[in-house]
Symmetry: C2
Subunit: 255 residues, 2 copies
């Protein structure tokens, strides 16, 4: 058996998220179906770096699975893609150490969130950006975003009902870029709680709208309760952008 590490991209629009669920169209289900077909009907379990919710997209989700097949690394994407529907795609695949784990070994993740701030909506981007046609103060939002950087207990930015005990995460990047008629939020950290990016975006948009002040972010973080933060921004503006492993960081330092 060899362990394959693969980078997968998907358009979340028509998926009920990553995780397998009965009678739902999910990314995991489609990938496992494709692999089962390649493995002559044998079940192949695919493990991702983490779940994504319904309508959330992935530019680069990382997964792993085990295979007895001796397919060369660079042939794996084409082999799997030929069995996949056209809204999910394997971008790259490599053979990893036998103990590589897509979820437990992830050391950094980056999410992007796209907001359309024009006054009129764009039907062609309806599934890809959060349409927010209000006058907003981007400078204040950038100030507010800066408060999220660093190591904090992010309980205020975690959807209730999760069973995670340790709510402390470190955020390395919390930036907002203006790109034509869109705002792109970029968050990079050592991990993210459930709905954390979407609650951060929702809260920052409320700052932009003038309903909160940038300085309020300290108190929101300190409150350690979900009700202190803003609304959860919708899933369809969110992109899992990159998952980084120890080996990737080493390579980066070598370059």
């Amino acid at each position: 058996m060899q362990r394959v590490k693969a980078i997968v991209s998907y358009d979340g629009t028509l998926f009920s998220g990553w995780q397998k669920q009965p009678n739902k169209r999910t990314v995991q289900t489609e990938l496992e179906k494709a692999l089962r077909s390649i493995h002559k009907g044998e079940d192949v379990r695919v493990t991702a770096s983490g779940r994504t919710d319904a309508s959330v997209h992935a530019i680069a989700q990382t997964v792993h699975f085990d295979t007895p097949l001796a397919i060369p690394e660079d042939k794996w994407p084409k082999a799997i893609n030929s069995k996949l529907p056209d809204d999910v795609q394997v971008k790259r695949a490599v053979y990893a150490h036998a103990d590589f784990h897509a979820r437990f070994d992830a050391v950094e993740k980056e999410y992007h969130y796209r907001v359309l701030t024009s006054r009129t909506k764009d039907i062609f981007r309806r599934n890809y950006v959060f349409f927010y046609p209000y006058p907003i103060d981007v400078k204040k939002m950038k100030e507010a975003a800066a408060y999220l950087k660093g190591t904090h207990n992010f309980s205020s930015f975690c959807a209730s009902g999760t069973d995670v005990v340790d709510m402390v995460r470190t955020i390395y990047r919390a930036e907002i870029m203006e790109k034509n008629d869109e705002l792109h939020f970029i968050f990079r950290g050592n991990g993210f709680l459930y709905n954390m990016v979407r609650i951060m975006v929702g809260t920052l948009l409320e700052v932009g709208k003038g309903r909160r002040e940038a300085e309020d972010m300290s108190a929101i973080i300190a409150a350690k309760k979900r009700s202190a933060a803003g609304k959860t921004a919708p899933g369809h503006g969110l992109y899992l952008w990159e998952v980084c492993y120890e080996e990737d960081k080493k390579q980066r330092h070598q370059v």
Copy 2:
């Protein structure tokens, strides 16, 4: 009764084209349903500048309809949009002369066609560009496109089975622009035959691929038969970009 001229945008992905058909989801059906709802159940017939096929998009289709309602011009888009699904949208509306006709009065139309020329496909653009991952000679394609400009009998670029008798059209613009990993074809003319843009694009791509020479375009036009030209490019790369009327041309000259 007053005649309304409206500019409509739609994402063709989930439509069986413009024209009403039994048991099919079409743009005309959705617009007429929205207007019927605004008109308390009365049927309102919507006429477009022309049909578009399944999966073809419109940035600005022009339509007209008659109404007894005294809604101010600038309130019409919001009124109709509130009843429309999220993949079709009225962008603007004005009251026109009682004899304005969206189809018969159109004097110029512009179509764009997007081709993705990267080696790997992009799942996020799967419904919006024609994926053509082959080495192509864009310079030769531009040379070939120039042959299409002017007044010609375009029988070779018309899908068979149409009942149009006069196949002569004048093309004012036939350009190819390189935009990152895409080619954007721009065609502007006084009218287009059935599938004409898609056959022109398909033929130009064959020139790009080296299967035809740019100079062959003269003979293809002269042949006046569909079999002389290349394949029909798929509908999902095509955009109805603008429909121009005499009044628009006058306004343009005034500016």
